[in-house]
Structure formats: C-alpha cells, structure tokens
Amino acid sequence: MLQVQNIEKYYGSKNNVTCALNRVSFDVEAKEFLAIMGASGSGKTTLLNCISTIDSISAGKILLDGVNIADLSEEELAGFRRKRLGFVFQDFNLLDTLTIEENIGLALSLNHTNPKTVQNLVQDVAQKLGITDILSRFPYQVSGGQKQRAACARAMVAGQSLLLADEPTGALDSKASKNLLEIMSAMNQDMGATIIMVTHDAYSASYAKRVLFLKDGRVFNELLRGERGRPVFYHEILDVLAALGGDVSDVI
C-alpha cells in the first residue's frame, strides 16, 4: 500500500543543515498496524508529516498505491489527504466551537459528502467507537479519552484508508490509553484500517503488528510481532530500546 523509498529530509540554511531523515526506506501493507518508535529528535514526527504530505521530502520517493505523492499538485494533495488519510494527534485537535458530532462530520463536509447522509455516517462510526452519548457535547465537556475516540472517528468516518496517529496516547492517562489502543486495534483488525502510529511509549507500540525504530533519522531496527502475545512483544520492544544505546527512560 505504502512504499517509502530512500527518503531524506534536511532542514536549515546553507551553513547550518540538519538531517532529520537519512535514507529511510520501508513498506506498509494494507491492513497493517505499524508503530514507529524513537527518542525525541529521532525523526518520527518528521517522517509522519512527510507521509501525510504536510511536509515535503528533500530526496527519495513516497508511493501510495504506486502513486508518487511528490508528483501531485497542492490541490491534488489536499484531495489525497481528504479522501485517503485520517489523523489522530496527541492534543486531539478538535475544534472547540463544534460539537463532537460536528467535529466528526467536518471530515465528511470537507469531502463534499451529501449533507443528508452525514448524520447517519457519523452515527455509525460513533456507535462503533462507543461515543454516541457524547455526540451533542462540545470538546470541553468531554474527557481526554472521549476526545481521542472522537478524533479516531473523524479519522475514519470518510472511509480513509490510512490512519496516521502522532503520539495518540500522549495526553491520556493509562486507563484511557489502554482503551484507545484497544479501539485502534479493533479498527485495524475488524474494520481493516491501515494504521501508522508514531510513539515513544513501548506499551502503545506493543499493540502494533510491527515496530520500526528510528535513531538519528535512520531506521535502526525493525521488530515483527508475528504470533507472539502482546506482553512478550512489549518486552522485546524494551530490549531493542535498550540496545538502541540510549537511556530506556527516554522512550518509555
């Protein structure tokens, strides 16, 4: 589904260049749940921004279903984000002037979905994520976990095929985090969503089927969960983090 080929990303001016991504390559299959881990400054969020077309790459290619996203115009990129990508952010990014229902429906409205069907589609997705009772509330009236589930609903309501999550559990307590990760797993397994999740939390990453480790802008290691149970996978992730050479506390 997604092919990232030798991408590089440089920031800064002539005399002060920072390499954020250095020849990063990997593929993501459809219906996969991939976690990208790394310490602060390792390039995780830059990578996610490049995949989501919010940021441009300096070299390499990103192909989505064989289409090089660098070849798309600004308008085509907007359409691409609208139809194909769903976002879940650490700070929820819900508009505080809209109700939860409207925040979810906004994605459909941007997609020019027939206005008459919007409410039904929102109801459907809300039911799947267990947030039907808070639809008429405003973001400031619901908990962090509920906000994040609403963000998940918005990320998939328009039938987006790739869900990009940037530290989705970063602002949640452990109970809400667990709840959200179970929902994301269900979205992946039951609804067939392809998920790429950036996190520095080993516990969150253990819900993925595969984990990519970034260090200084390069892919340092890759870990497949296979048939192993989640607790075992969690410990393996911790082992890799230890092998990364940094302080484990940086990434847990």
Binding site: A78, N93, D96, T97, E102, S109, V118, Y140
Partner: protein, 650 residues
Amino acid sequence: MTLSKLSLRNAKRQAGDYLVYFVTVVMAAGLLYSFNGLAFSQEVQELSEKMDTLPIIIVLASIAVVCVFGWLVSYATGFMLSRRSRELGTYILIGLTNQQVARLFFLENLSVGGAALALGLVLGGFLYQFLRAILFAMFGLPYHFSLAFSVPAAGLTLFYFALIYLHALRKSRKRIQRMKIYDLIYFEKQNEGMIIQKGNSRRLVFAVSLVLGMAGTVLLMFGELMTGIIGSGCLIAALFGYFLSFASGVPAFFDKYPAQKYRGQNLLIFRTLSAKLSTMGIIMAIISMIFTATIITEGSGLMFNGLFRGRSAENACFDLYFAIEGEDQDPSPYLDYIAEYIPVEQSVLYQVYLTDSPTVRDYIESQTVYYYYNYEQDPILRWSDYAALRSIAGYPTVEPEPGRYLIHCMTYLEEPLRNYDQPITLGSITLSPGSVCTERLSQSFGVANGRGYILVVPDEAVDGLAVHHLAYAAKTSQPVPAAQYDALTDIAATEYNKQENPANYALVSTKANEDAQVAVQTAIFVFPLFYLALALTMTAATILTIQQLSETERYRRQFVLLRKLGMARKEMAQALSRQFAVYYVMPAVPPVLIAAPIIFHLTRVPEPGVMVGMSSPLVIVAISLGLFFLIYSIYILLAYTSLKRNVLPQ
C-alpha cells in the same frame, strides 16, 4: 529587571498585538487636537463674528467624542486584561503583589497611551491644517500652509486623554486587586465554558426579535412620528434580542435542518460566528446601535449641509438684492447708500406683480407639496425686468415668445409646470403657456421673484395689476463686504420702524453674506456632526477588529487542522473570507435597515425645492451609507489582511 522596564517591554509588545487599536487611539488624539485647534484659533474665529459660538460647539462635541473614545479605551483595556490574565497571574505566582501587577498594567497602558498621544499630536497638526484649509475655502479666502503648535489645544487634548485613561485604568486596577491567582490563570477556561449556551428561552428571544425586527421596519416605513418612535423601539429591542440569542438560534436551526449544517462551509462559518456571539452578544448589539447612530449622524450632517447650501445657492444668485413689500415704496435710502459705497456694474429696479387669482398655484398644490407663504396670487414679472435679471445673474438670454408667458421656477416644480397647459388672462390680454426655465433666481424669500415660481409676461400685460413688492438686483464689482451688508440691513430696519403701522417688511441679501453664512453654519453644525460620526465608526469598528484579531491563534490552529484534514488553500481562503464577511456584515445590516428610512424621512423635512440634486433624499442616504462603509471597510481590510497573513498556511 525593574518593573518599569518590564512595563515598557510589555507596552511595546502590546502595541504590536493591538496595532489597529493603537492606530485608532492615535487618530483619536489627532482628531481631538485638531478640533481643539479650531476652537482655540484666533484666526478661525476672526473669519466671521458668528464663529464665536464655534469653541462652545466644539467643546460639546468633544465631550461626546471623549465619552465614545473613553468607552473604547475602557473596553479595550478590560479586554486586554482578560486576554493577558494568565500572564498577569504568573507574575503574582512568582511573587509580585496584586498592587505591583496593577501598577505594571497601569504603567504599560499609560506608556501606550502616552505614545499614542505624542503621535496623535503630530497627526493632529496635519489634520488641523486640513480642517483649516476647508474652512478657508468655504470662506473664499486664500490658504497658506503654516504648521503651528497650539499649546492650549494640546493641553486640552492631554486633559481629555488623562480622563479617558485614568477612568479605564482605575477600573482595571480595581479588577486586578480583587482577582485571585486562580481566577487570573484560569480566566480563559471560564470563557471557554461560556462558548455555547442552549436554552428554550434564548430560542424564544431569537424568534421574538426577528418578529420585532420585521414589525419595526414596517412601522418605520409609514414615516409617521408615532409609528416611527414605536418602530425604533421595536428595532432596538430586536437588535439586543437578535444578537443575544443568535448563538442559540444557529444550533436550533441546524438541529431542525441537519443537512444544511454540512452543506458547503456552513458548519465552519456559522459555528465560529455563533461561538463569538455567545460571548459578545451585548457588545454586538451596542456596536450595531453605534453604527445606527453613526449613519444617522452622517445623514444629519449631509442634510444640514444640503439645507444650508440649497437655501444659500437660491438666494445667492445676485451679488446684491433688496426688496420692499407693498406698492409705491421708496427705494432711495438704499439706492443712495449703494451709489455712495458699493461699486455696481449692472442693476435693475423692478416690481413683482400679482394676478387676480392663484390658478397656477392651485394647479401646483394639486400636483406636489408646495408652501405658498406670502403669495395669495400668482406672481408676475415683466419680460424686460426678467431679461435684466438674467443678464445680472450671468444666464444666457431668452428670446421673448409673443402671445405666450414663460414660467421661471425652482427645479422641483419643473416637471408639474412643464405639464401645465392652461392660458392666463391679464386684463384684456390672454397668453398661452410657453417655455419653462429653472436657473436659480432668488425664489425662496417672501419678497423674492415669486415663491418657487414666477410667470414672466410681456411688459404691456402688467398694466393694472397689483404690485406685491419692489425689488432691486445688482452685479457688483467686488463681493459686498459684511459692513456694507450690515449698513443696508440697518436702513431696512430704520425704514420699517418709520412706518405708522409696521406691516411691509424689507429684505437685504448679498451673495457674500450668504456664502459666509453657509461657511459658518457648516463649521458650527456639520463639522461637529462628522467629527462625532468619525469617532463612533472608529470606535465600533476597532472593537470588532480587536475581537477578531484576538482570535488569530484560534483561527491559525483551525486552519492547520483543516489543512491536515485535506482542505485546499483556496477553500480555506474562501472559508476565512466568508467567516469574515458574515462577522462584519452582521452588525452592519440592522443599522442600514434602521438608519436609511430615518435619514430619508429627515431629508424630506425642509421646505420643498431645497434638498435637490446632490442633496436629494436618496443621494444623501446613499452618501451616508457610502461614507460609513468606506471607513468601515478600511478596518475590515486591515483586519482581513492581517488575519489572512497570519492564519492561512503558506
């Protein structure tokens, strides 16, 4: 870092954050100084002895303007305090006392006000020159640029500013001293909680306000005084009801028609608006009322301007004119004085006659609104006198039409009189209708060339007709000075008092005196009205703009998210401009609906024939609205460009 350094740094940053507000305060200082300059200027007062009331009028207008700007500064200071509550709370958290924070806030606002005042005095110097140039042009005097600093004008401006700022800062100081750290740090959260409030009562108010709005507009359309008052009351109530309940009206509408919510960009536009209105409904209603007052004030200014100019233009067509009511009057006291003191190039002494019956007047009354004051019959002028009057006034000659009578009238009577097809009979001579001329011919006095119209007939046709008055018109070598005009009016008064039973009055008019009168009246009535209107528009538009620009960060976050969700830049620019348009149009629509009929009604109050051409009712309504929207759009443009630059992703 000392408190004063911190104050200065904050003041600089504040000026950047609230640039539009700062510019308005500078303008306010400039306006106050320039008008104070006029009030204190010896040169301006010497333009005419009637200008001695100007300082009082300007001080009165300035008091109103100070109240308006005082409200603006007080509102903006309170608003900035709310926006910066977290920062101020942090100062207390790190150990400053409430008093110290209050002093900090006081000092930085005082330095912003001081800087605005200093810049305003410079700007005011130029504004004063601009006003001076207009005044000199109105008095027909040559203007020379001379930049002078008026200490009393600056002193009074400083006094006004001190009042404005001390009032606003006293309020803020009290507020800060009462506030607790928690309130300051979590102030924004309190606001957030108020974003949307639902409730059936609000929906009811919304519905009632719409009905009241419609009823008020219809009542105003009747144009009657009583219905007008009730209608205005309804509209004011509607204004408050509408803005206070709009926030819940939108969700109610969307609940009823959910499909409309997700159509196009409705969701973004109306939700942002209703969120804004739910916290500033009362302010929006006040702004709407200020806009109404602005447009009506501008309309009144234009109406007075049109009235003074209209009356004067009609009367000022001859350099010198006098008339004495009644038959067999003796003009020699006047003529002797003129012969001795006023060089005359061309003149005519003539009589205005009356027909036996007012047939033309009756016809006019059946066709249009007409006040026939002082003429019981149709007035008549001889061809030869008429030809001389035209020559003196500088109009092209009109060829006599044998067997016909010519009608010379004011423009507002032209249409009905062109359709008049009845002959007139004067003694044994019957004349059929001829041409109609409409140049200005001094036709609005009681002893003038008719009241609105006069019939011009062959010289021989006036034999045996009654004389209404004796008149004299002249073209002088130079404008008649005020002293000579006064001397002639003294003669008129003396002659009047000589009569055993004073009944026949006399009138003296000069073009120079009429022009001076217009200039004085404009300076005394029109200038202060526009001064006030400008202050009102600037205040209301600034508050709207401060509110809008304070949302820059929220808008920026909104558009960053929308970009991630796949909204194209073009669509984002569209959404922003629509959000903007709705936000700025909303408080301007009710004022236009209320003020336009009121101005229209006002401009129809003066006697017919004066408010014509550029002063006709519809033109005045259009110019009033145009002036208002011109200033308003400057603020809109400033806010839009600033917001577009800062919130739309590149």
